[in-house]
């Protein structure tokens, strides 16, 4: 009987409803609160999205779930992107989620992602833009809140591990709507200085909303334009801000930034200690060597040397005096003996002949014409040799 009323079996109707729904809602974004969240052994998740007046079943398959940057749980307000379909076996319709964002963050994250892609295309995040940190910076600028714990952490670590550097602190708003402008102004101020060798842009952890100014396009570009290496340490791990991608080095915490910056100084301190110890040792050794060398020619040594020379001279004099005296005494004795002998000879009546060359013992010593003195017992007579007389026979 024809009534004009469509006539289907269950499968046909379900099939039609499924197609109608799927054709009408191929892609939808649905906002709601998660409830009855259940993760199955397979890894797929089943839950409901609800608001004050309605509920819709939702499925998040394992592959899609693994791409989320948060863990969905009951009570969480989310914005799910997906398609509406019908689960024929149960006769209910449900939302198959492709992706899901925490509500409120969606737009921000989307805009941030767009900006990130744009800046990436421009090459702002390129690894080759990253400069090495100066090993021993003499002047370090810290851009942060003067009242924040981040600054205290940086000061604590740097002062423990480094010597001989100046820390410039540029008090900066790092939270709230005015913070982007404040960060820009502070960076401009620091960039204008010629003595700054490294910059730490830092703040402690916070919610994503707290840290938004670090992903502000102007701030990110300003960070990328730093004339000297800039370390970004926004105290959190999960949500990387764009400033951290644009800076030269990203550190997980303010302390970590200070530790990285002070690492060469810290290491060199250890090396210096060793070098200094060996230097002192070598110098002591050298000093000992020089002292030994000096011992052979110091005041005392020179005095001894000259004294030795004086002594030698004095000894020579003494010896000379002694020897001369002895010799003279000896001569005197000889003389006395000769005199006594001569006297005895004279007394016996023998004269004694003296030539200019000394006493005469033989006739051959005298030549004709030579003058002699003849000593007698009672006086001296001068005489001259007249002639040689040949003696034929010996008496």
């Amino acid at each position: 009987m024809k009534t004009g009323i469509p006539d289907y079996n269950v499968s046909e109707l379900t099939f039609l409803v499924k197609h109608t729904l799927e054709d009408h809602f191929p892609v939808v974004r649905v906002r709601g609160e998660i409830s009855g969240f259940k993760a199955a052994v397979s890894g797929h998740c089943y839950f409901s999205l609800k608001d004050e007046d309605a509920v819709i079943a939702a499925v998040l398959f394992r592959q899609q779930r693994s791409r989320l940057d948060f863990t969905p749980r009951d009570g969480m307000k989310v914005s799910a992107l997906g398609r509406v379909t019908v689960y024929a076996q149960r006769g209910n319709y449900q939302l198959i989620c492709e992706t899901m964002e925490e509500d409120g963050r969606g737009d921000i994250l989307y805009r941030m992602e767009r900006l990130k892609q744009k800046l990436k295309q421009e090459g702002l995040f390129n690894p080759e833009r990253k400069r090495p940190l100066p090993p021993y910076p003499a002047v370090i600028a810290v851009v942060t809140s003067a009242r924040g714990a981040a600054l205290q952490d940086v000061i604590k670590v740097l002062s423990r591990r480094m010597r001989g550097f100046r820390l410039l602190v540029k008090d900066t708003l790092v939270q709230g709507s005015a913070s982007a402008a404040s960060i820009m102004a502070s960076l401009d101020c620091v960039y204008a200085r010629r003595d700054v060798e490294a910059i730490i842009l830092t703040r402690g952890g916070g919610s994503m909303e707290d840290l938004l100014s670090f992903s502000n396009e102007d701030v990110v570009r300003k960070v990328a334009a730093s004339p000297v290496p800039l370390i970004c340490a926004i105290g959190h791990e999960v949500d990387v801000s764009l400033a951290e991608l644009a800076c030269d080095l990203r550190a997980a915490t303010p302390s970590a930034a200070a530790e990285i910056l002070s690492a060469p100084s810290f290491q060199i301190k250890e090396q210096l200690r060793t070098v200094k110890a060996s230097l002192a040792q070598s110098m002591t050794h050298n000093l000992e060597k020089q002292s030994w060398r000096f011992k052979a020619c110091n005041q005392e040594s020179l005095r001894n040397l000259i004294q030795e020379q004086v002594n030698t001279k004095a000894q020579f004099l003494d010896t000379w005096r002694q020897e001369t005296l002895l010799m003279l005494e000896h001569r005197l004795i000889q003389w006395k003996q000769a005199c006594a002998l001569a006297k005895e000879i004279l007394n016996r009546g023998f004269p004694f002949i003296q030539a200019p060359g000394g006493p005469v013992k033989t006739a051959a010593e005298l030549k004709t014409g030579e003058r002699i003195a003849i000593y007698f017992q009672d006086g001296v007579k001068q005489a001259e040799i007249l002639a040689d007389e040949q003696q034929k026979d010996s008496p």
Binding site: T284, L287, C297, N298, Q299, S301, L302
Partner: protein, 68 residues
């Protein structure tokens, strides 16, 4: 005259006196010169020792590993 030159001169003077290479009046003159040089060298060596001692004494404590 630097330290090494002074030391060399002193050693030379000592040798000249010791070996009597020059006559006595000249040895005396050398002795006078040497005495003057020797007091300078002595002062320099004392200063050097002072400096080394000061450096050794100024060994900074390791803030990471303070002495027990």
């Amino acid at each position: 005259m630097n330290f090494e030159q002074k030391m060399k001169r002193l050693e030379d003077i000592a040798a000249q006196i010791r070996e009597s290479r020059v006559d006595f009046p000249e040895q005396l003159a050398l002795f006078k010169e040497g005495s003057h040089l020797a007091s300078e060298v002595e002062k320099e060596l004392a200063e050097a020792e002072q400096i080394i001692q000061e450096i050794k004494a100024s060994e900074p404590e390791d803030p990471e590993n303070p002495p027990l």
